[in-house]
Symmetry: C2
Subunit: 346 residues, 2 copies
DNA sequence: TTGTACGCGTTATCAA
DNA sequence: TTGATAACGCGTACAA
């Protein structure tokens, strides 16, 4: 169990100085062919690789980026990570993952741990708790220390930084447009409380679409769920809420839901109540999940292009890291969502 | 945009030496109360935090662990990561994620990048290509350099290291037992080619169960799919294969599939062919996925307790990192799988 | 052509 | 009680 070999050890072994070894390995013209060959052969034999940590310290650059997400067991976020990894690796960076678990405290701690030299910059999607408390001091501190941040999906206007978002408003509007154009006159909305910005924007898209079609906005058709409840483990509660919606509004002929779980559950409840999807009720969700594709009927949804978001975020961050000349010309890139039509709409 | 503050800067500012500052911040008894207070107040004001990279270099310890997985957009692997993160964070470690994308070359490159000082140890699940080529030199090199590895799920006997696996054999046997006990006499198996060890073990569990029940092993009931094809994007091909299985064997009354996608697709094909699940055909899958729970009918599956696997793997690794006294007493921890009965079985 | 010295930020040891 | 020095591993400016 030998440790990794270092320049110093090679130097000692070959009886030359450390810097000679260093130069020889970088093929410097300063060094004679003889010595170069000798050193390079030896290094190859012992499989020498420079120590990343030493390089990071010396260069004040880690070539590592940190991504902080609220939850990793989630198709959307894991796809984003895949996109980030893809670009990061291509450009010679590693990726450290931190999970906030939707908690403000964990988000702060995670960022502080990584900000102390471990990484060159952050990619982050805010936790629900952070959005609720509206406490963004840790972002400003990080940015003030010269460490760039790229926010994605769950972003916030109060912070000046690069951002990548999906056009939640447009996406939702298109989805509802589709339902209305397909003949739905009473489109219900299943959404979340408003502090998660994406929920708010999708709700606004719904409202806008109704307005454009001169349809009355009926508040009783809007079901606002408390997304602090983990409905994934508490499906019964979700079904009950949705069932009430249907029972109180017999004329519902379309559902737009801001995520996959709500949409799927709505389909299930609807068919349990004797409705046929899509003939009686058409349903559109908002997601990049796996459930949509494999459900019966399969679910029409608004795709967010999660992997692309990750790629863009990583590109923005690395570009900024590698061009120190551009000052605070922050951009917000908007990824166009896409309505994927499946069996739950006509 | 000020850089992070360092000991040196504090020292200069307060006109004391660097080592005095260092000691004062660690509350050394060598330093007078006066100086300590002064230094600590100043450090707090400027929000001083030691630079992780410098500490890593000095201590030859990064407090970071690397996890290499074949694919992150996968419920099983993201749950494992969650488990790893949980334990790692509790014990003061960060987690770097590397994706092999099922490629041998990417696995090797990723490991080499991280092994040069970036991390203290690896948690890894082997890529399919690595398993197929049976080239494990990179693991041995890493271990010989004194960097511990913990393998999980897709492991390999040839390498001496800690391992965490699920009891694939037992889990499969129990699943098939269940089907047989529920009255199935012609249980088909949908599996993969044998180089992925977990597929092989699950196949053996199927065979064992049939043997125990004195049921004939019919090779025509075993469908071995080439899992290099991404059936997720090529669902039609998968459906066709499974449809052939059903058409060639009209007596099939049970299906055991080694993953979620195969199981779900089998259910869909079966009902399309006019069979009722579970009355005509019962189905059990093998997975921790989300699809099982939300499909109609919901799918009975063998759960692998992915998050627990991650937690155990991280614990094994960190224990080994922190106890240098235990020499090569490698353990293999087996996580008991669990048959979760849902609507696809009686 | 080779070697020395320095610095990245920190801590530990030893000297003052 | 404080400070100087060395070391972790590397690369480079400069001296020999």
């Amino acid at each position: 169990m030998k440790r990794k070999i270092t320049l110093k050890q090679i130097a000692k072994e070959l009886d030359v100085s450390i810097s000679t070894v260093s130069k020889a390995l970088r093929n410097s013209v300063e060094i004679s062919e003889d010595t170069k060959q000798k050193v390079q052969a030896f290094a190859k034999l012992y499989n020498y690789r420079p120590n990343n940590i030493a390089l990071s310290l010396k260069n004040r650059k880690t070539n590592t980026i940190g991504i902080i997400i609220p939850e990793i067991v989630h198709h959307f976020f894991s796809k984003v990570i895949r996109g980030v990894e893809l670009v990061a690796n291509q450009r010679g960076y590693n990726v450290i993952v931190g999970l906030s678990n939707e908690s403000f405290a964990k988000e702060v701690i995670n960022m502080e741990m990584l900000a102390n030299g471990s990484i060159d910059g952050f990619i982050i999607s805010l936790s629900k708790e952070t959005l609720r408390q509206q406490d963004y001091h840790h972002f400003n501190e990080t940015i003030n220390q010269g460490m760039p941040i790229v926010m994605f999906d769950r972003v916030v206007n109060e912070i000046q930084c690069d951002k990548v978002i999906v056009d939640d408003f447009e996406g939702a509007k298109n989805a509802v447009d589709k339902l209305v154009n397909n003949g739905c006159n009473n489109v219900a909305l299943i959404t979340t409380k408003d502090y998660v910005s994406v929920g708010r924007l999708r709700t606004q898209g719904y409202i806008e679409s109704l307005k454009n079609h001169n349809l009355e906005l009926k508040s009783e058709l809007i079901l606002k769920l408390d997304d602090n409840i983990d409905y994934e483990v508490n499906l019964d509660a979700l079904e009950k809420e949705i069932q009430q919606l249907f029972k109180a509004n017999k004329t519902i002929d379309g559902i737009f839901a801001v995520n996959e779980l709500y949409a799927l559950t709505a389909m299930r409840v609807a068919s349990r109540l004797g409705f046929n999807v899509p003939n009686d009720i058409q349903v559109v969700g908002f997601t990049d999940g796996v459930l949509s594709k494999h459900s019966t009927p399969s679910l029409s949804t608004v795709s967010q292009h999660a992997q692309l978001m990750g790629e863009k975020a990583a590109t923005l961050l690395i570009d900024r890291l590698e061009n120190d000349d551009d000052y605070e010309n922050y951009q917000t890139q908007i990824i166009a969502s896409e309505l994927i039509e499946r069996e739950s709409t006509k």
